[in-house]
Amino acid sequence: MAGDNPVLWETKVLQSRATEDFFGNSIRLPFFTLPLPHTLHQTLQSSTASLVVPASRTLPGCTPAELDTARSGASFAFPGCPIYVPAGVTLQTASGQLYKVNVPIIVTQTSGRPSALQHPVQVLQQLGPPAVIQGSVPQLSPCSLQAAAERSRGVDAVPQQLTVPACGPVGRKNLGNATSDGCAPPGWEHGVRSAALLSENSPCAHGSGAAFPSWAAPAGPSAEPALSAPAAGRRRLLGGSLPAAGPQGTPHHQVALSSQLTDDDINRIIQVDGTGDASSNEEVGNVRDAEENEFLQIIDAGDLKVLEEAADSTSSEDSTASSSDDEGPEVALVDEDPLNSGDDVSEQDVPDLFDTDNVIVCQYDKIHRNKNKWKFYLKDGVMCFGGRDYVFAKAIGDAEW
């Protein structure tokens, strides 16, 4: 199910604003992060010769020296900056969980501070296409699978987060990210497109940063379909910008678009009146407008000109000064000339009937009308009449309109 239409699913999830909290805020972690203990124990394979070099180049704030040591399999103290890990790296966390990375990834430590997360994004942008790209164009489905796998294990609060742009079926840890968007961004942001394989036996047991616990709940199977589509990441990535990793082909748009685009679809004013009516739009063709707008008048494109001229007459509505000069151009457009302010219709006579001091505030039993004869059966009221106040339990009135 998830793989069927992950793009559609993702759209719906974001449109439903279920993830609003997570992605509307740029402070949140925009990308997928894996929780890691403070000390990252990495086991690098020999194939990861290029591990250190790109890291040092692209991560100005990081100390590549540590990476060098890590390369030899020593334990690695996670710096405060993201680390670029090329493909083929097997990461092992302090708890002994192993991650085998088949794709270049960037590992960032997030301690709940948004600023720390921005680095990898920026860095990635500078990063060229990863030297090692395995697999085909980003298959995010693997990532989703990881998410699901991890999700199933239960997500606990992890003290640290490891952002892994995993794109392969990996036993992801602690997805944390609420939606597929979370999964996708890490991969994108880190410029990794190929499938990242992380060993499945790496449950995410580590506490995550501040953002994680909030993400934990909605994550999981939902992440699966989202990841599976590269388009998902393209569209729904929040808080980050996709680095233009070349070969992946999928456009790496600015992630910032987020869910702002989807809100427009939902912000339609709902009409509560006149259901079942067919708007008079056969000639005009403003069906859509009629349904949307509740209070305002809908001006169809075809009638814009007429309405503008009609609006001119409304601007002088209170005065009986005629604007009969509007008639000429209007007739050409519509068969019937629009209403002119003073031409055909005059001011309503006696519009100030309500300007009175005699007021009755009450409840009504029945109000009845026959032609122009009205009968009022009122109850429980207060009447201010002639400057004096009266209270009544029942009142009957007759009036002629």
């Binding site: 509560v272 009146d273 006149g274 259901t275 079942g276 009516d277 067919a278 708007s279 008079s280 005009v284 407008d289 009629a290 707008n293 509740e294 209070f295 008048q297 809908i298 001006i299 169809d300 009638d303 007429v306 309405l307 009609a310 609006a311 409304t314 509505e317 519509v334 068969d335 019937e336 000339d337 629009p338 209403l339 055909d344 219709v345 005059s346 309503q348 006579d349 519009p351 009308r369 122009n372 309109w401």
Partner: protein
């Protein structure tokens, strides 16, 4: 015998029904709250607005279609319809006065003589239908004019047609037919004079 040219029949138009469109969606609730002299029928989804000056009652739908009844002439109907649209415009709706059409005109006419309905029906078989048990009048339809006349034995005739002209033509057409059927010429002359005096 045929005094049709002498008698001036007064055809009184009692009701003119017309429709027009505003070409814009109308918010009935807003009209009901802010408009003057309105009756909001929420269950059927329409608002009745009554006007004093041309005494008309307009039924307003949210789709923008408005039916105007109660006018006594076609011009008055149009005038009232425009005034109604004007008041809607003042409420804030972008109203365009379009598709004005008089759909029905109701007129009454009084013949100065009584009419024998059964004989009348027999002579005007295809057009006239008479069911005294259901309705005391003969229903005479003129297909070409799309007019319907209801002829009562008292000589009162009710005519409904698409416009005033059709109604007048229908009365002129029916007059020779009913003229033969009056009770008696002399008697009716008396009645005629009497009815004239009463006026």
């Amino acid at each position: 015998m045929d005094a049709d040219s002498d008698v001036a029949l007064d055809i009184l138009i009692t009701n003119v029904v017309c429709v027009f469109r505003t070409r814009c969606h109308l918010n009935l609730r807003k009209i009901a709250l802010e408009g003057a002299n309105v009756i909001y029928k929420r269950d059927v989804g329409k608002v009745l607005m009554k006007l004093r000056k041309p005494r008309i009652t307009a039924t307003i739908w949210s789709s923008g279609k408005i039916i105007c009844t109660g006018a006594t002439s076609e011009e008055e109907a149009k005038f009232g319809a425009r005034r109604l649209a004007r008041s809607l415009q003042k409420l804030g709706f972008q109203v365009i006065f379009t598709d004005f059409k008089v759909v029905n005109v109701l007129a009454v006419c009084n013949m100065p003589f009584e009419i024998r309905l059964p004989e009348f029906t027999k002579n005007n078989r295809p057009h006239a239908s008479y069911e005294p048990e259901l309705h005391p009048a003969v229903c005479y339809r003129i297909k070409s004019l799309r007019a319907t006349l209801q002829i009562f034995s008292t000589g009162s005739i009710t005519v409904t047609g698409p416009n005033v002209k059709a109604v007048a033509t229908a009365v002129e057409q029916i007059y020779p037919f009913v003229f033969e059927k009056f009770f008696s010429q002399i008697r009716n002359k008396d009645m005629y004079i009497r009815s004239r005096e009463q006026e």
